[in-house]
């Protein structure tokens, strides 16, 4: 049979033989079979095969099969099904509604988890902005050292500082191509701005030198110096911290003032002494103690003033790495050994990385997998069934 040009496919003929065609199509095929010997022959073959297969009959099921099933059926309480809710009402809510409900519940859980976080971050933002409202930032004085709290410093008349006491610390990491030129520029800038080097160290090889320095610069010049230092090369990192010590300073100055008054009064007592020698010695000891306190507090005050007056900048200058032509390349054995070591390290790193990834992401992937497995499986099966 030429089944490329034949009007009835052979499989369709088989479907007709099996009673699997629609009535209309079956009538068409039946009419064709009557006039087509080839198709008739095929149908006869199919019938013959079915008849041959029918020759294999199995014996009826043994009576022992009934025993266990009957026993299990006897154990099924007849009233149980009656008293328990009939299965039908369970399907009053269709399965898709359950699935939709499940997805909605999942979304609700996600929203419930994420909204408090959003609120928290918004609240902290609001708190930060409320806090900022307590301060008045003069538009004409952009530097942080000139920031004055609204009602902050009126009572600190005893001190020599009228503004807020802020110790400023900054960090700057700069990478420069020309290390020597950059170093000269850095030193020149430091001189220009009236700063000095508190600590300096250099290191590195000839092609990748580094300079690490702690600079002290007048607080009001710090921003300018910082901006110019950034121009020396490519900035790799920067940071600034401002620590307010106004309260500490005011407290220190007040205690210093009180101690000085105490010292004066003790000196007056000593000048007008009328008591016993023991009392005089006691007063002198007290004067010595108060004097020591005054010295210590004065030193603290000076240190604080110095820290406020001079900002501290940790400056790091790195030379941009430039590969050098190595005139004496390592021997083949060394290179092979290095390659082996690097390979081993790389393999270990990869294995650890993979383990880290699995430990990190594994539980999350498993969770989402468990959540989505059943819905996806159900949808997939439905799609396949629909396609069939």
């Amino acid at each position: 049979m030429n089944h490329t040009t034949h009007p009835i496919e052979r499989e369709e003929l088989m479907a007709w033989h099996d009673g699997e065609l629609s009535a209309e199509r079956a009538a068409g095929v039946a009419a064709h079979v009557k006039v087509c010997d080839e198709c008739l022959a095929l149908v006869e073959e199919l019938r013959r095969v079915s008849a041959q297969l029918a020759a294999w009959q199995v014996e009826p099921a043994p009576a022992s099969l009934d025993a266990r099933v009957s026993a299990a059926l006897e154990q099924t309480p007849q009233k149980n099904a009656l008293s328990s809710p009939s299965p039908k009402p369970r399907y009053l809510i269709p399965t898709w509604a359950w699935q939709l409900g499940g997805v909605c519940a999942l979304l609700l859980i996600i929203v419930a988890i994420s909204i408090p976080n959003l609120l928290r971050s918004r609240m902290s933002r609001n708190l930060a902005s409320d806090k900022n409202k307590d301060f008045e930032w003069p538009a004409s004085t952009p530097t942080a050292s000139d920031r004055v709290p609204k009602g902050g410093r009126a009572e600190s008349g005893a001190s020599t500082f009228s503004g807020p006491m802020i110790i400023r610390t900054a960090t700057l990491v700069v990478v420069a191509k020309e290390f020597d030129a950059a170093r000269s520029a850095f030193e020149r800038l430091l001189r220009q701005h009236g700063g000095y080097i508190a600590q300096l160290s250099t290191g590195g090889q000839s092609s990748a030198r580094t300079l690490t320095a702690t600079l002290r610069v007048p607080a009001d010049r710090m921003d300018a110096l910082f901006a110019e230092l950034k121009k020396i090369g490519r900035v790799e990192g920067e940071g600034q911290i401002g620590e307010e010590v106004t309260q500490q300073y005011v407290d220190l100055v007040a205690r210093l003032k009180n101690s000085r008054v105490t010292e004066q009064r003790l000196a007056q007592i000593l000048a007008q002494r009328t008591g016993k020698v023991a009392d005089v010695l006691e007063v002198e000891r007290e004067i010595a103690r108060v004097r020591g306190e005054i010295e210590r507090m004065d030193a603290q005050r000076k240190t604080l003033e110095n820290q406020v007056a001079f900002a501290s900048v940790r400056f790091e200058l790195r030379e941009e790495y430039q590969a050098q032509l190595d005139v004496t390349p390592p021997s083949t054995a060394t290179r092979l050994r290095n390659a082996a070591v690097e390979g081993y390290k790389s393999a270990t790193e990869n294995a650890i990385g993979l383990a880290e990834f699995l430990l990190n992401a594994g539980p999350t992937l498993l969770l989402w997998g468990l959540i989505f497995f059943w819905p996806v499986r159900t949808i997939w099966r439905r799609l396949r069934r629909a396609a069939a």
Partner: protein
């Protein structure tokens, strides 16, 4: 006559007799299903029992969307696959030896043995579809649902299986001439 689906509904409402009737209708079919697919009659009986016990347990949750027949054969198929996994392919025993032994003493091996022998020579995927169609009398759609295959795939595989079987069954009519009356 009460349909299978009505029987299950009656059982869900509490009628044991309904399930007993369902059991009577399907006991031989289920036994036949397993008997043709397992080498051991005792194992076939056990599996048929397990099928009915599983159906008894699951009947309260049966949804009338599917035919009871498909549902029962679905349970049976799952149990069969589980059993095959456990026994690792010791199921469909080749019967060539039996056929050859019968022919050696110039005795007709019998039509059933010829058929079994021919069936063992088919691919697993073709054989299962052919068995479900010829012996369990399932429709293409039911087979497709049972094996999770598209209906068109079932149809084409069934056709190929029948054509292959036709060729495999020819020798019994031709070579020795003694087996011509098998049908």
């Amino acid at each position: 006559m009460t349909t299978d689906e009505q029987l299950v509904e009656e059982f869900q409402r509490g009628s044991r007799e309904a399930f007993a009737e369902l059991f009577r209708r399907y006991r031989d079919k289920m036994y036949g299903f397993f008997r043709r697919r397992t080498a051991n009659p005792a194992r076939a009986e056990e599996l048929a029992q397990e099928t009915f016990l599983a159906a008894l347990k699951a009947a309260p949750r049966f949804e009338p969307r599917a035919l009871v027949r498909t549902w029962l054969f679905g349970i049976a198929m799952n149990l069969l696959l589980a059993d095959r996994r456990k026994t690792a392919g010791q199921t469909f025993q080749p019967v060539h030896a039996e056929v050859e032994a019968a022919r050696a003493v110039d005795r007709d091996p019998g039509a059933a043995l010829w058929v079994r022998d021919a069936l063992t020579r088919l691919d697993e995927e073709h054989r299962e579809i052919l068995l479900l169609r010829e012996y369990e009398q399932l429709s293409y759609a039911e087979i497709a649902a049972l094996l999770s295959l598209p209906v068109n795939t079932v149809r084409s595989r069934l056709f190929r299986a029948r054509m292959a079987l036709k060729d495999l069954l020819v020798p019994q009519r031709s070579p020795r001439g003694t087996n011509a009356a098998v049908m």
